[in-house]
């Protein structure tokens, strides 16, 4: 038996506008709404709307035998609601079929699991609430931002009551083991671990239209034969990918929609294949072994580690200074400030600052609003400095050199003076 588990990630960050030194203390509009609307419009047209329709048709056609799972971030949901309500409705229509599962993650697509357990749990709770409201489901499976995972997160998810958690089936953690079985996170007794089969996932997500690839063109029978071959030596086929794969990373003219349209029928020809949502797969199979993953793995780049977000000094500085502000911003109890701070925790802001460019720059360029990573850092730090000023003001503090402001005192003072006059 091979159960095919499709899980699609839907995420859009709130991209920052070009925010310069002169804006600090003068302007609290941090986000480039024109750009964000433009991206949402484009992606909804090219991907969300046509692909949701395609999935809905497949579900109806196969009468419940075709199933998929989604994880949609809170920041994406907000933007869907505001800028593309039609696309949001199409996701809700999928939820109504009973064949589509929505997973749990941090509302803001943040790396908070690594930096603040308290904030992490707050963001997960916010997301659960949102999913419940919009899709009338209570998530049973957790997936962390960018599939960042280690033992500690496995234990945390078990304590939070989840049945399963997802991770990248990276070679360096699996070794000789296969991603086509369920595992148990080290130190856990109940929760199950599902691993992405990155070869077959990336055949669709990255290589589908690559004419330099030996298997191009990827036909439905060929791909189905690879999955059929797992029968007898695997139980699940976890195909995890960004939803924007369909129509955006792989354009419509590559034949990607056609491929997805024909794939379920081909796979269901084999009597031992079926489709399951991740919860169903977790319920159907038992872990074959314990898996020990002490260091964080992710699904990003070739390294499958954290280096895409925390690999250099500017990223580390930006993250450190952001999380240093957490206690102070929360002490203000000002929901608007806290929400602004949370929108800055979105991992994309740090991804844009990645300087390991030369090998895998193309991926980092996708929807990257900046020409170069340093511009991303400058904008982020300028915004963060403004937020720090707002927090200080709310606390009624006179700015002083003693605070954790990143700018030297003289600048703070001059900015605040300008702001007051």
């Amino acid at each position: 038996m091979v159960s095919v588990c499709f899980y699609f990630q839907v995420h859009q960050p709130f991209r920052l506008r070009k925010y310069s030194l002169f804006d600090i203390g003068n302007d609290q509009h941090y986000f480039d709404m024109t750009k964000n609307i433009e991206v949402m419009d484009k992606v909804a047209k090219k991907c969300y709307l046509p692909m949701n329709q395609l999935l809905l048709d497949l579900i109806q056609k196969h009468k419940g035998r075709f199933k998929v799972s989604f994880s949609v971030t809170g920041t994406a949901l907000e933007q869907l609601e505001q800028f593309s309500p039609k696309a949001l409705e199409s996701f809700q229509a999928l939820a109504d079929t009973g064949c589509v599962e929505f997973l749990s993650e941090t509302y803001h697509h943040s790396l908070s699991s690594l930096y603040s357990k308290e904030e992490f749990q707050d963001q997960v709770a916010l997301h659960r609430k949102r999913i419940k409201t919009l899709f009338h489901q209570t998530p049973r499976v957790f997936r962390n931002t960018e599939l960042v995972y280690n033992n500690e997160l496995g234990r945390l998810a078990e304590d939070m009551g989840y049945d399963a958690i997802l991770a990248e089936g990276a070679d360096h953690v699996l070794g000789w083991r296969s991603p086509n079985f369920l595992y148990r996170p080290k130190g856990c007794s109940r929760i199950k671990l599902l691993l992405k089969n990155y070869r077959l996932s990336d055949d669709i997500a990255f290589r589908f239209s690559n004419k330099g690839w030996g298997e191009w063109p990827l036909t439905v029978p060929k791909y189905a034969s690879w999955i059929n071959a797992v029968n007898g030596n695997g139980q699940v086929m976890d195909l995890f990918m960004d939803y924007e794969t369909f129509g955006e990373h792989q354009w419509a003219d590559t034949g990607i929609f056609r491929f997805m349209q024909d794939l379920p029928k081909e796979l269901l020809k084999h009597p031992d294949n079926d489709f399951k949502t991740v919860s169903e797969a977790a319920a159907a199979y038992e872990p074959v072994a314990e898996l020990d993953i002490p260091h964080p793995v992710s699904w990003a780049d070739l390294e499958r580690d954290l280096s895409a977000w925390t690999g250099n000094k500017i990223q580390q500085a930006a993250i450190r200074q952001l999380y240093d502000l957490e206690p102070e911003v929360k002490r203000t109890k000002n929901q608007q400030l806290i929400e602004l701070w949370r929108k800055l925790t979105t991992s994309d802001h740090f991804y844009y600052m990645c300087t390991k460019w030369f090998a895998d720059g193309d991926v980092h360029k996708y929807f990257n609003p900046y020409d170069n990573p340093y511009d991303g850092f400058i904008t982020f730090l300028n915004v963060l400095n403004d937020l720090i000023l707002r927090v200080k003001e709310k606390q009624g503090e006179k700015p002083s050199g003693a605070g954790n402001l990143i700018f030297p005192t003289e600048i703070q003072t001059s900015i605040i003076e300008q702001h007051r006059t």
Partner: protein
Amino acid sequence: MKVLMLGWEFPPYQSGGLGTACYGLTKGLAQEGVDVTFVMPHVDGDVDADFVHLIGTKGKKVRLRGIRSALRPYITAEGYTNELHHIEIFKKPGAKQVYGRNLYEEVHNFTRAARKIAEEEPHDVIHAHDWMTYKAAIEAREISGKPFVAHIHATEFDRTGGNNPNPYISHVEYEGLQAADLIIANSEYTKSNIIRHYSVDPKKVKVVYFGIDPDVPQYSMNFRSPLNQRDKIVLFLGRVTLQKGPDYFIEAAANVLNYKKNVRFIIAGSGDMLPRVINRAAELGIADRVTFTGFLEGEEVHKAFQMADVYVMPSVSEPYGLVALEAMKNKTPIIISKQSGVSEVLHHALKVDFWDIDEMTNKIVSVLNYQELFEELKDRGGEEIERFTLDGPARQTIDVYNEAIARYDKEAR
């Protein structure tokens, strides 16, 4: 392979980036086994001078032949007349008049002399650097029947920032580029400029990005000045002319000082805009925060880079910008104009439009305030610059020679 190379300047007889570029190129070529005879104008001494320079590890020789001439790179017609006056003062009484009465006559003299050298020096290809040598190259091509590769480092439009380009010089550039068998442009930026201004056939133009000579001990001096203890230092280094954008630098300096005290701005270089820039600094009330060093040479250049916390190249039009690579090699973070050739190839640099003084200010203040940004630019920039070597461009240049020779033979048949 033997190359007859016609240039303007060669270290130590130089005043700018062109000499550095020619030195790097000939050194790279010599290391790849190419024989270079480098012909250039030369004012020292009474007679045409011959030098032999030993260059590179394989001990290949570059022969330098100086033609007695008052030609200087970056010279204008008026500038030449002044230069001539300067030489006349030191001329011995009764000495023969050897210099042309004006720039155009002098170019003509250089061309005639090059003709003679083309007869004497065996060569497979003629390689000429910028307009002043193009006429000479065309002559040499006629004499020897060898292909002519025109190297374009800057056009008259770059030098003047598009304001009143000298029609004579533009015409020589046009003629030279049209006559050349192949053209080497130092960037895509330059390539697009010559296609636009001189209707050059794009297929004839090859882009070769220059590298820098890593074998310079001064790069690792780690020089610090007592000034570093009091102030953050922002450096401008280059000719103080319209092309290099010193006026934008001074406006940004005043802006930065509104946001941050204890910053010192150094303007290293000389040029016709210097008085204007000095006056503007006084007008803006920042004269005490700006230091003018005049023209720097050799080790002083490295010291200036190393003591700087950030180097700014705000050029209005910079065909390449070798100086930015030197700054990086000295481990100085750089902010470069988007209107430059190097901005096409450098990643670990901050980039601004030369006219965007607010953004320039934003970036200068960010580098000075955000320590990690300073360090990341310095470290990653230091790694990136390692890729800009001399052998890569030299090999690409040899490919251009071979293609030029093949083309020429085909035409001759």
